[in-house]
Subunit: 333 residues, 2 copies
């Protein structure tokens, strides 16, 4: 009897699932609603995972049956106790014979390095930099959450834009077009009305992160404050990347994948990050991953049951994934 | 018939009320639960104000009756629309004949300057710097809320302590004792367990602000990162003070009152702030206000109905307030 492997990437906007056979041949892709732990809770994760897996099985034209190995990469499942809670909840739902759980960042790392040593720098609503060495040791930096430290993330960029606009308003900092752009973005008459919206909870973390594209626009216009913010964000991500490389002792040419909405939405951001990083770490080679994080989750499903990520297996996954536009990212430096 | 004036200072931990006669003679003090708008909502503000006013009337031994003039200084009532909402809600509760509403920061400013031109720098859970000139023009800087910009506040100090401890942990920054102190403070085994508590919502803005005293302890121990954080906090507050002084054109010796939990809890913080400020603004004279912000609210009650804050009136308020320990702050430079 054939064995089926599933990788799931669960985030704040959606849950993606890919199903493949034991030889690495991708058979189908499924999708469901969000499964970020802090957003939907344990029961919500279970439901989204079930829907995403079922949808992928249907897409593959397989009869409805249990998956053999399921690897869940779930946003917010970063700690041992939360991983265990998700594993237990999903196991009880009888979706698969064996269930492994880790954070979504691990899937992005694996998709970027395809199981080899290297680093991924993620800048979405939040940020995190994660690396793995030849002994499989993982180290992370940055991305401790918006309340504490999300350097280089869209939230960081948006918050800095607000902060620096307010500094211009109250006379603590240089003028900037950002204040006007931000007010217009929220349909407000003034910055202080934007602050009202924040006080009332109508503008929160996600909406502030949504200001990042606007800061990158102002960067192109040459606004001094916007230029400063974008440089600082790239610098923080580069410093975190260097810290990770040092901590796990990566040597020679170091592959650094970039992913997340900020990198995917801005070529300028990718280029600036590469420049800053190569100043600090000339051995770094910045790449956009070939495939989406969910493929990383699939590779981890194989590895979790002791399968080696051989060139043959990885290539079969990459080749067959190319049939599904949802799984592919164009490689660009 | 005698007229009675009430000043109310409503914050996140309690609501204080002082009642006085038309000549400025303080007759009683009352207290009730929190009335910070974002914490308790409109109905909660109304209830806390009613309880605080009634409690002050009882304390004064006055018969239960309407107060003539009520000035409410309420945390979170910073914008026109929120002030109006509070005014309407409290007026409908028939607590007083005339109700005025403004932010709690205005009461602190008035308590610090006793109605004269000057500035107040407030560092509590949040921060704000507010100034008034001889024409009554008010300008503010800093303190746009924890999500955006609360430079120099207890939350800022606590968040920086967490952020810099995490930087030490993941290799981005110099070592510091703060990580261990913070873990112990929350009864956690490690910093990453503290981050779990933040993710789970068990440690929030108030608890992070609660780390400020610990940072000031580490400052005394000479921890380099703690020294840096405290200097930076004082510098941000000094820059904000300078920005306010410039914007409203304060000249000659400028009175700068300091208030809020961080200043009140740490002589070192007051001294460091004074040093930083005098570097930037040699004309500044830093003082601790003589009286609590609620006395500022009372003075604003008189002024709101057109009464001049004459030396006679102010002195009578100060002299009679001295009978109530809740209303007095020791003056120290």
């Amino acid at each position: 009897m054939k064995k089926y492997f599933c990788g799931v990437d669960g985030g704040a906007t959606k849950t993606l699932c890919v199903v493949a056979d034991e030889n690495g041949y991708v058979l189908g892709v499924g999708e469901a609603g969000p499964s970020s732990m802090s957003l939907v809770g344990l029961k919500g994760v279970e439901k989204a995972v079930k829907n995403a897996v079922n949808s992928s099985i249907r897409s593959a034209g397989l009869p409805s049956r249990d998956v053999d190995v399921l690897f869940l990469a779930i946003a917010g499942a970063g700690s041992e106790c939360r991983r265990e809670a998700v594993r237990r909840s999903v196991e009880e739902a009888n979706i698969a014979d064996v269930v492994f759980v880790d954070s979504d960042a691990i899937a992005a790392l694996t998709a970027a390095t395809l199981g080899k040593p290297g680093i991924v720098a993620i800048s979405g609503t939040g940020s995190i930099v994660l690396g793995v060495n030849g002994r499989g040791e993982v180290h992370r930096a940055c991305g401790w959450g918006y309340l504490v430290d999300d350097e280089g993330s869209a939230f960081y960029i948006g918050r800095e834009a607000l902060r620096r606009s307010l500094m211009a308003l109250d006379g603590r900092g240089p003028p900037t077009v950002l204040g006007e752009l931000i007010s217009r973005h929220f349909g407000a008459e003034s910055l202080s009305q934007v602050i009202d919206l924040i006080s009332l909870g109508e503008v929160g973390v996600v909406e502030i992160a949504g200001l990042a594209p606007l800061v990158l626009e102002a960067y192109k216009l040459g606004d001094g404050v916007a230029v400063d913010i974008v440089h600082q964000a790239c610098r923080e991500l580069a410093l975190a990347t260097l810290a990770v490389a040092r901590r796990i002792g990566l040597e020679g040419e170091v592959l650094v994948g970039v992913c997340g909405g900020v990198f995917e939405g801005s070529e300028i951001f990718v280029k600036l990050f590469s420049l800053k990083l190569r100043e600090l770490m000339p051995s770094a080679k910045v790449v956009k991953p070939l495939v989406k994080p969910v493929i990383g989750a699939l590779l981890l499903a194989y590895r979790s049951v002791g399968r080696e990520l051989s060139e043959e297996l990885v290539n079969r996954v990459l080749d067959s994934a190319a049939n599904y536009s949802k799984l592919v990212v164009a490689r660009e430096v």
